[in-house]
Amino acid sequence: MPTCPDCGVELAEDARSCPLCGKPLGAARPHAHEKYIDPEDRERLTERERRTIAWEVLSVSSAIAAVAVLAVNLIDSGALTWALYPLFCLAFAWTVFTGVFLLYRKPMLAILFPALALHAFLLGLDLVDGRLTWALPLALPIALDAELSAAAAWLLSRVSKRKGANLIALALLAVVTLCIGVEFTLDRFLSGRVALSWSAIVAFTLVPIACFLFYLHYRVGKKTNLRKLFRL
């Protein structure tokens, strides 16, 4: 009968590690990773190796697409003109993917990085023609609104211990805040005067549904007996 040297308890005959302290037993050390990697045998690749292959494939594909777009633009008009837009989009996609790849182990940064990159991308896209027109008053506030609404919904869903209808309710509330933000930004940009109309209708429709879903989730769905809650 194997015995854990740390906890001093007897373990099952086939135990590889101690279920209490997690230490592997002498006879069952983890297999040493073999150096030879067969790319077709995915089971033998580590997570990191799989991610590296995916990044390499995306980088090569992006480079091929960029060269192709550039070549077509130069052959067509003899100068770099419209290709700037697709090149910019490709660069943005590649940057976001690379950032997420590098920050894989830091989830907060991996989420924050694309959010910030989106702002830089929108600003850069507006500046392609040499003038700053729509990015600052329109694109950036709407992007920020969308990001904050999504972040708030995500954070609240993370702290929720039981996930269900409450997540749909949170998503609906995020849509409401996004719509209000979009109408507010558009009104200010187009007429300089804010008068919420369609976003208010969205709010009046979705907020009661969200409340109903919260009620379903936290009271009815849990089969909570009111006798327990209100016992005197």
Binding site: C7, A12, L20, K223, T224, N225, K228, F230, R231, L232
Partner: protein, 450 residues
């Protein structure tokens, strides 16, 4: 007669703690347990421990299976705490209870109010099997019944048959009776009596605390027969003799302080002795059913010799454990929770006042406690493989040091649990026993104390 019958019916209704409906089973806390949720934290956890040291390393697969089977027999222990609008209640713990590794410090890092926290846990290391129970669930008697049932099942799985019956070992193929989880305080409430006299704030050890989550257990093992003979020589019970040694140690600490320091200390020591009410009232309940006797000593009246302290402890115990004294303690505890005014107060307000009242009229009134569980027994098969039992008191930040006692196979085991750095109380207590001619062997759980 009719009045008595209706009071009896009301008591039985109020004593019911288990309910079953479309949402499954749920329980309410017994009268003594209601104070626990608001007054405990991850250091003063309210967890006491009963443990057994076997003659061979614990077999992990067997203890896990034994635990799962035993936990099914005690569904009223496999529960989590929930908040209602007016009271806490208990819901079944959905996941199977897993055996954990026993760390150096027992009864630490436990938050009973956290969701998913089962109110008891089983920990093993080497040859030791330890069960830690929240006082929101049960007292020492209920804890020992669970441990004994677990041990018998464990040894059965290891090929050791019980070879006899024990009333405190439950058959795992039987369904639990409702009386096993009744609130015996409510069942034996016999009317409203004048409240017992409120005590005065008691002298407490001023020791600095150990680092967070360190809980020191100093165990003294001594032969039972000479200890009983010594108690008989004094004409008192063993509990009274040990309580006197405890009071004597406190007295030495108080009088050893410089005069200037002493003036700042409270001049009255009070040692609390839990009394198992099952001796006085018939019940099968495994919920809390203990009351307390306070043994006091006023230092302003001067130092007393040990024989005098022993006699005073004996007479105070006798005075406080007669039927009317017990009835009025039950009356005070139960009448409060039956009052409509108290019941209508929302839980968060109750919690707020419970903390204040517990501080002012609970731990503040005692210097420490010494709880004697008495002799532990097991059927002969498993008994041959258990070398020792321990009973460790729940940690307290206010009194810092408390003691628990039990006896097993001719040995008396006294476990002092302490959150304080000073070991002076333990040293004086065991020195006193040694000076009475009782040979004491001392052990400590902390290898290095920081």
């Amino acid at each position: 007669m009719a009045g008595k019958d209706s009071a009896e019916r009301l008591n039985r209704r109020k004593a019911r703690t288990g309910f079953r409906d479309e949402s499954g089973s749920w329980y309410i806390l017994d009268n003594a347990a209601t104070i626990m949720p608001p007054t405990t934290d991850s250091v003063a956890t309210g967890l006491f421990r009963v443990s057994a040291d076997l003659d061979a390393p614990v077999n992990l697969p067997s203890i896990q299976v034994a635990l799962e089977r035993t936990a099914r027999r005690f569904p009223y222990f496999s529960v989590e705490l929930r908040r209602g609008l007016f009271w806490y209640y208990l819901e079944p713990h959905e996941k199977p209870v897993r055996v954990e590794l026993d760390p150096e410090s027992p009864s630490q890092s436990f938050r009973m109010r956290r969701r998913g926290t089962c109110l008891f846990r089983v920990r093993v290391r080497g040859r030791r099997i330890a069960c830690e129970f929240s006082h929101a669930l049960t007292d020492g008697t209920g804890g020992v019944r669970f441990l004994k049932t677990l041990l018998v099942e464990y040894f059965r799985l290891r090929g050791v048959e019980a070879g006899g019956e024990d009333p405190d070992v439950y058959r795992l193929d039987e369904k639990p009776e409702a009386e096993e989880y009744e609130d015996a305080y409510n069942r034996h409430f016999s009317g409203v009596y004048p409240h017992p006299e409120a005590g005065k704030p008691a002298f407490q050890l001023g020791a600095r605390l150990l680092p967070r989550h360190q809980y020191r257990v100093i165990s003294g093992v001594l032969p039972l027969a000479p200890a009983l003979a010594k108690a008989k020589e004094f004409g008192v019970s063993l509990t009274e003799l040990l309580a006197a040694a405890y009071l004597d140690a406190l007295q030495s600490i108080w009088f050893s302080a410089p005069e200037k320091e002493r003036r700042r200390q409270r001049p009255v020591a009070a040692v609390e002795i839990p009394v198992n009410m099952r001796k006085f009232y018939p019940t099968k309940s495994n919920r809390n059913f203990s009351l307390f006797v306070l043994l006091t000593q006023d230092y302003r009246l001067g130092r007393r010799d040990f024989a005098e302290i022993v006699q005073r402890a004996h007479h105070q115990m006798r005075m406080e454990t007669d039927a009317p004294s017990i009835a009025r303690q039950i009356s005070r505890n139960v009448a409060g929770t039956r009052s409509l005014l108290v019941r209508l107060v929302p839980l968060f307000v109750k919690d707020f006042f419970a903390r204040i009242l517990f501080q002012a009229f609970g731990e503040n009134l005692i210097s420490g406690f010494i709880s004697n569980l008495g002799p532990v027994s097991l059927p002969p098969g498993p008994a041959a493989h258990v070398e020792r039992f321990d009973f460790v008191p729940a940690p307290s930040k206010v009194t810092k040091t408390n003691a628990s006692v039990l006896s097993w196979k001719g040995n008396l085991v006294v476990d002092f649990g302490s959150l304080g750095k000073s070991r002076e109380l333990e040293r004086l207590f065991f020195s006193r026993l040694a000076s009475l001619g009782l040979p004491v062997r001392i052990e400590c759980n902390l290898r290095e104390e920081s």
